[in-house]
Symmetry: C2
Subunit: 200 residues, 2 copies
DNA sequence: TACTTGACTACACGATCGTGTAGTAGTTTG
DNA sequence: CAAACTACTACACGATCGTGTAGTCAAGTA
């Protein structure tokens, strides 16, 4: 990050603090006073700049979405990312993802829209790479959810691995493991068909 | 469910209401008064039976974990489940999963312990089925997280599919899609190796 | 200089939170 | 029969919540 914290405007500091605290503690769990303290301003200034807590949340939604798209564009431009890479855990995206997941779980439309865009991106990716599942949409939705899963349960996964997956080393390890999931076929088509008949 | 709601003791009704509301709104988002109203009792009775909100949460943790293991045992006993089935979305497990995920995100040790047990179960499953990833532990952790992913983003996935995945029809559809993820290899081993070199 | 405007703070408001206290009704127990 | 215990309610407490109001201060503008 090339921006020093003290160089940011108060409004930006508030927004960054809100994304962080909302993401860490949930929307209900982070108070305006907490956010103001984190940003080093009075609680009244939060209201001055954003009007209400709900409006602050929407501003965070918008900002997080734009930043995520921006970061995604930059990383894919360098050509070192495929549609499957766990961009999710990239240091720049980390607090934004944390926030967006919380916001999704709280029913945010903006965050949900970003998920849907992700599904469509995966859909196009499978098409262009010649992957043809029977239910492309369902397949893409499952993959989009999977891309976020390791992130949502980062604490649990870290504990299982005995290694913090938010560090570069751990991030690489779980990334490799995730790749292996997509490399080793766990089931044969016959098994899947057999299961389908059994289910209801 | 063979138990009628009105037949449950007040304590059980409170616990069920707490699991439901904690799961839907998060721990901070559900007040003791909300839970009491949902259970049809006074807020004082919640305190009488559980002592404090934190103690109520721990009781819910314990109950949800036991019920999940119980349900899992019953379903696998019938022999119509493999280690990969999205038990996650089973009607019986649904509110429990909802709660456990929220509890995990709030740092619950009991819920995290359940996740770790899930990782170990997947580890044993891969071993007995002759699946040999380079990092078995990491592989199992990724799979454990994936099993929960579709569930966490059920609203988003439902919206992407235009079909509620908590209904039997939608549940089958996303289940099939998830199976396909494990059936179609997305990457070759060479691609994975190539990626590994690129990363850092 | 006088006026406006935007960033910012201090403080008080009603509501709601988790919790504490006191007490009632019904059953059990000696 | 009296004492004890359990399930349960009503109500009040201090703290904290989001929000509202009033005002300070600095910069720009006519």
């Amino acid at each position: 990050m090339d921006r020093a914290v003290e160089d940011l405007t108060a409004r930006a500091r508030i927004r960054d603090a809100a994304v962080r605290l909302f993401g860490e503690r949930g929307i209900e769990g982070a108070s305006i006073r907490d956010i103001a303290a984190e940003a080093g301003v009075s609680s009244g200034l939060v209201r001055h700049h954003f009007g209400s807590k709900e409006a602050l949340r929407e501003a965070c939604d918008q900002y997080a979405k734009e930043r995520m798209l921006q970061i995604g564009a930059e990383l894919t431009k360098d050509g070192n990312l495929t549609g499957l890479d766990p961009l999710t855990l990239h240091p720049l995206a980390f607090p934004l993802q944390l926030y967006l997941v919380r916001s999704m779980m709280d029913g945010s439309e903006t965050a949900t829209a970003l998920f849907l865009e992700g599904v469509e991106a995966v859909e196009e990716w499978t098409t262009s790479f010649g992957i043809n599942p029977k239910d492309r949409r369902g397949y893409a939705a499952a993959l989009a959810a999977i891309k976020l899963s390791v992130f949502v349960f980062r604490d649990q996964v870290s504990k299982a691995l005995g290694e913090d997956i938010t560090t570069p080393a751990g991030y690489n390890r779980i990334g490799q493991a995730l790749m292996e999931v997509f490399t080793i076929p766990l089931l044969t088509q016959e098994q899947v068909d057999h299961m389908r008949k059994q289910e209801k």
